[in-house]
């Protein structure tokens, strides 16, 4: 495979050449593989700095693209772990994790100094990255496998827009259960339409409704299952436009809201960053507004953790209140502020 440079990757991201978050995750892992495989670094610290640069440049240009940053931080953690393991082996029966946690102060905000040159580090890191890749590829199946336990016969499930994970989740469950899905159109992208098409070809009884009908129909719905772009650090989610009103309607009628996310979407980002976009896409065709009329459309909606019931991830379901713990397992504490 050709070498992928950082710039190319960022350009691809900017021009939205990737269809799904999974593709972004895989590409970013590939980029980092290239970096690790290259000869530009000698010590662990060099490698960490290289990776950190990738992370900061992506974040600076597109703060809402959290998946690549997540992957960067994941790889950083892999590197640090491998380094410590190897150093611990070299030095004997020390418990590397214990010493590591004693020596590192997360508040210092800097990555640990991994100054020793360990030849096996590169191989070990590449192995671990390959494992991570496999995990990403399997995440869709693992999530879909949990569908049967979550969905029961004769239930009415609501979803909004297109998410390949949710689609896999529902189609797998449909093989054993008979249920009904209501798909909201999800303006302005209207990707509810291909979702409805995919669902009905899978043999699921589907109904397409307009977004404004979500509240009226919610009284008949048993569960809401959606996908997301990012899971933020407090357990909320940042996702498609319309999720906030969907989630409040679900809360109003006490309908559980499940979010299907693989672990690479868990991000250290906070919920405060919002991105606006001035858009004329919402103006109906054929009408003209005078320039004094302000039209805008946001990119992402924020759903607070109170409205989310559970995250369905690769291995298990986790509650929003547990997200912080998951984050500490995935990422190294010093990399929280890149």
């Amino acid at each position: 495979m050709a070498q992928l440079s950082e710039r190319e990757f960022i350009d691809k991201l900017r021009f939205e050449k990737y269809d799904t978050e999974q593709a972004k995750a895989e590409e970013s892992l590939y980029l980092m593989e290239c970096i690790v495989g290259s000869v530009h670094w000698k010590t662990g610290s060099d490698l960490l700095n290289l990776l950190r640069n990738v992370g900061t440049s992506v974040q600076a240009k597109m703060p809402w693209e959290t998946t690549p940053c997540n992957m960067v931080q994941r790889v950083i953690k892999i590197v640090i772990d491998e380094y410590n393991t190897l150093r611990g082996e070299n030095q004997g029966v020390e418990y590397p994790s214990l010493s590591q946690s004693m020596l590192v102060d997360p508040a210092c905000g800097d990555l640990p100094k991994c100054t020793e040159v360990i030849p096996e580090l590169q191989d070990r890191v590449l192995e671990a990255i390959a494992e991570q890749k496999a995990e990403i590829e399997q995440s869709q199946e693992l999530i879909a496998a949990q569908g049967v336990s979550k969905i029961h016969n004769d239930e009415v499930i609501m979803t909004c827009g297109m998410c390949p994970l949710v689609l896999a989740f529902l189609t797998k469950a449909a093989k054993q259960r008979k249920f009904h899905v209501i798909v909201a159109e999800c303006a302005p992208k209207y990707d509810g339409h291909p979702m409805a098409k995919a669902l009905c070809t899978a043999g699921i009884q589907t109904t397409l409704i307009q977004d404004s009908a979500v509240f009226p129909i919610m009284s008949r719905v048993n569960k809401v299952i959606i996908g997301t772009k990012t899971v933020v650090s407090n357990g909320g989610i940042k996702t498609f436009v319309g999720a906030a009103s969907l989630a409040s309607a679900a809360k109003f009628y006490s309908v559980p809201l499940y979010v299907c996310t693989p672990t690479y979407k868990f991000s250290l980002m906070g919920c405060e960053e919002i991105s606006h976009e001035s858009s004329t896409s919402i103006i109906p065709k054929g009408t003209k507004f005078s320039p004094s009329v302000n039209t805008a459309l946001t990119k992402l909606d924020y759903v607070p953790p109170e409205n989310v019931t559970s995250f369905i991830t690769n291995n298990r379901g986790i509650a929003p209140s547990y997200v912080y713990r998951q984050l500490s397992e995935l990422y190294h504490p010093t990399s929280y502020d890149l």
């Binding site: 291909p194 397409l208 404004s212 109906p284 507004f289 009329v293 909606d301």
Partner: protein, 681 residues
């Protein structure tokens, strides 16, 4: 129209026979109304309103019943004629020997109990008769095709069939399949042959022969009912089609005294055959719908909804068949089967009939195609049309103006409803007009009465709409000063309020939330812009970001329910929810004539389904037309709701022309102002 004449001939002959037989058998008065029902259901199969069929058939039995009872004395000639006809029929039927024998056996079996059930059912057929053909009629095509082979009808028209015959049946095995083909098939045979629907009393009375006959014909797979044969031979010797299944055998009965009963039974069975086959013409479509229904049966409330669906579905089917031959284009959506379905075609009406006033026609079509939108506009245009109707109305001789005008008004109102289901406000307006019509003194001269009525309508509009709107604007200015308002879609009342506030000197900006189907907010934005008010335009799903800047949410209601729930265009509830989440007041503007006595718990109990095709052709270029063939796709439905209901708990305050009220005051106002009108129907 030669065919019609033949049918009329058949009618007359039928009546004669009825009279003949009525004299022979005392205990079967219930059959005649049924027969007559079927016969009379024939004449108006054209594209009249649905109500034409039930009303005429329902009206006649009463009068004919009395006439028939008077004609108990039979003449010898009539008896002779009948005997001859029966002999001929017997000969013709001898073509299907095997089945005939079985039928004969059946006959002998049932001759014994023939009389008993007939007597016991005296009461029920009379009741059942007017209703069953009525209900049966809409469910089957008026132009039924009698020549289609019997396929195994029993299971198809199970849905929501009226239970009267079943109840009346002395034998329990009737309940399942067997009765249904009979019942449902009642109507098709009627237009086909003009034969009386004596099937009705049969359903209740002679359950066993029905059942056997049905089962036999199903298994036999015979083509055309011999009933056609018999009828033809009896009433005019039209071309006889294949004898096929034998319905009843007079062979063994000719010489016995119970012959007439057997004949009746035979006739009935023949009719059932024809009806069943006509019904099978629809079988394909029904089966498909039934499959869908099977899937959804668990999700829907059991009997009530399925009954409503059956009649609704039947209405839909009948209309479809009259308008054009379409496939399974009208499909019931799960969970929403009880709502009136959308039809892209205007309701069929006669071109030169005088039952629908041209002004009403225009208004109806305008409402259908969305030219006239919104409760207030619809009410005003409808009342204007009714004023013209009143002006053009002339009282016929020896008729009461109030009663006759109410009768003449009905088809107009029904036409409007068929174009587009009434808004609740329209219902209220119609009720008040009817109330006024009823209260006209019969002694007043026509011109004066008409002036009174027109004046009443003007007063209604002036008081309840125009004056009310300006009063509401005044009241609202006490609530709104320097605010950022959030509203939904186009609303004339909100515009009036904003104008009033601006005139008072308040600094108001308005955020218009809108949804693309239909994009009514664009007109609102343009109108507000012309007022000079800073306007923002947002998608209704994108509110969480702008709510921090908004101070008050103001919307106009289409109707307010007795429990305080507010019905408005679909999407308003999103605003209410956003207001509640961000702790902003939610103000609803509504004139009191839109209050109604219904208590709605959620939006799906009473709603309207709009044009789903506008949703399918969505504004996005990428996904446009992905679902273009959604009607043919199995498992897929596209639903567009027109209204939604905001629960009373989310509404902060209600601004009416009487006062600024909390939602708990709604029933008090209804009681005080409208009890006499809204209470009655």
């Amino acid at each position: 129209m030669p065919q019609k004449e033949n049918k009329l001939d058949n009618l007359c002959n039928l009546l004669e026979n009825i009279i003949l037989q009525h004299g022979r058998e005392a205990p079967t008065p219930g059959q005649k109304p049924a027969k007559v029902d079927g016969a009379t259901a024939l004449p108006p199969p054209r594209a009249g309103t649905q109500n034409a069929v039930p009303s005429t058939s329902g009206g006649l039995p009463a009068s004919l019943h009395s006439a028939l009872e008077a004609g108990k004395d039979l003449s010898k000639e009539e008896l002779e004629r009948e005997r001859k006809a029966r002999k001929e029929a017997k000969k013709a039927r001898k073509k299907g020997p095997g089945k005939e024998n079985v039928e004969e056996r059946k006959e002998t079996q049932n001759s014994g109990q023939g009389s008993a059930p007939a007597t016991t059912v005296k009461g029920s057929p009379v009741k059942g008769a007017p209703t069953t053909p009525v209900k049966g009629a809409p469910t089957t095509p008026v132009k039924g095709a009698p020549t289609t082979p019997v396929k195994g009808a029993p299971t198809t028209p199970v849905k929501g069939a009226p239970t009267t015959p079943v109840k009346g049946a002395p034998t329990t095995p009737v309940k399942g399949a067997p009765t249904t083909p009979v019942k449902g098939a009642a109507a098709p045979a009627i237009p086909v042959k003009g034969a009386a629907a004596a099937a009705t009393p049969v359903k209740g009375a002679v359950a066993k022969p029905v059942k056997v006959a049905a089962a036999k014909s199903a298994t036999a797979g015979a083509a055309v009912p011999s009933s056609i044969l018999v009828v033809d031979l009896r009433y005019g010797k039209e071309s006889s089609e294949q004898a096929g299944v034998e319905v009843a055998k007079p062979a063994g009965q000719d010489s016995t005294a119970g012959k007439s009963k057997a004949d009746l039974r035979r006739e009935r069975r023949e009719k059932q055959e024809a009806q069943r086959q006509a019904k099978l013409a629809l079988k394909e479509q029904q089966e498909e719908q039934k499959k869908q229904k099977d899937k959804q049966v668990v999700m829907e409330k059991a009997k009530a909804s399925s009954k409503a669906k059956a009649t609704g579905e039947g209405t839909r089917k009948a209309r479809v068949r009259r308008a054009s031959s379409r496939g399974s284009s009208e499909r019931k959506v799960p969970l929403l089967g009880h709502l009136p379905q959308y039809s892209p075609n205007p309701p069929p009406h006669q071109v030169n009939s005088d039952s629908i006033h041209p002004a009403v026609l225009t208004v109806g079509l305008k409402m259908k195609y969305g030219v006239v939108e919104g409760a207030t506009a619809r009410v005003i245009s409808m009342l204007a049309a009714l004023k013209l109707f009143i002006s053009d109305y002339r009282t016929p001789e020896s008729c009461d103006l109030s009663r006759d005008m109410a009768d003449k008004l009905k088809p107009n109102v029904d036409f409007l409803h068929a174009c587009r289901p009434h808004a609740i406000a329209m219902d209220n307006a119609i009720r008040s007009v009817k109330h006024k019509i009823n209260s006209i003194d019969p002694l007043t001269p026509e011109a004066q009465a008409k002036d009174e009525l027109r004046g009443a309508i003007d007063e209604f509009v002036g008081e309840n709409i125009i004056l009310a709107s300006s009063t509401i604007a005044t009241h609202a200015t006490t609530l709104i000063h320097d605010d950022v308002l959030l509203t939904f879609g186009y609303s004339a009342l909100v515009c009036d309020v904003v104008e009033a506030v601006v005139k008072e000197g308040g600094k108001v900006s308005v955020v218009v939330a809108d949804y693309p189907h239909p994009p009514s907010g664009a007109a609102m934005v343009q109108r507000l812009d012309r007022l000079g008010v800073p306007t923002y335009y947002r998608l209704v799903t994108d509110l969480s970001h702008i709510m921090s800047k908004v101070t008050k949410v103001v919307v106009e209601a289409e109707a307010v329910m007795m429990n305080g729930a507010v019905q408005a265009m679909c999407g308003t509830a999103c605003l209410a929810l956003a207001a509640a989440t961000h702790h902003k007041p939610f103000i609803v503007l509504c004139q009191t004539y839109k209050f109604c006595n219904i208590d709605l718990t959620d939006s799906l109990v009473m709603n309207e389904l709009g044009d789903a095709n506008s949703m399918v052709s969505c504004p996005s270029q990428e996904h446009q037309g992905v679902l273009a063939d959604w009607r043919d796709t199995q498992n897929l439905n596209v639903v567009r709701l027109v209204y939604d209901v905001t629960p009373a708990g989310l509404v902060t305050v209600l601004v009416t022309e009487q006062n600024v009220l909390p939602t708990s005051a709604v029933p008090v106002i209804i009681h005080r102002k409208y009890a006499d009108i809204l209470g009655q129907d």
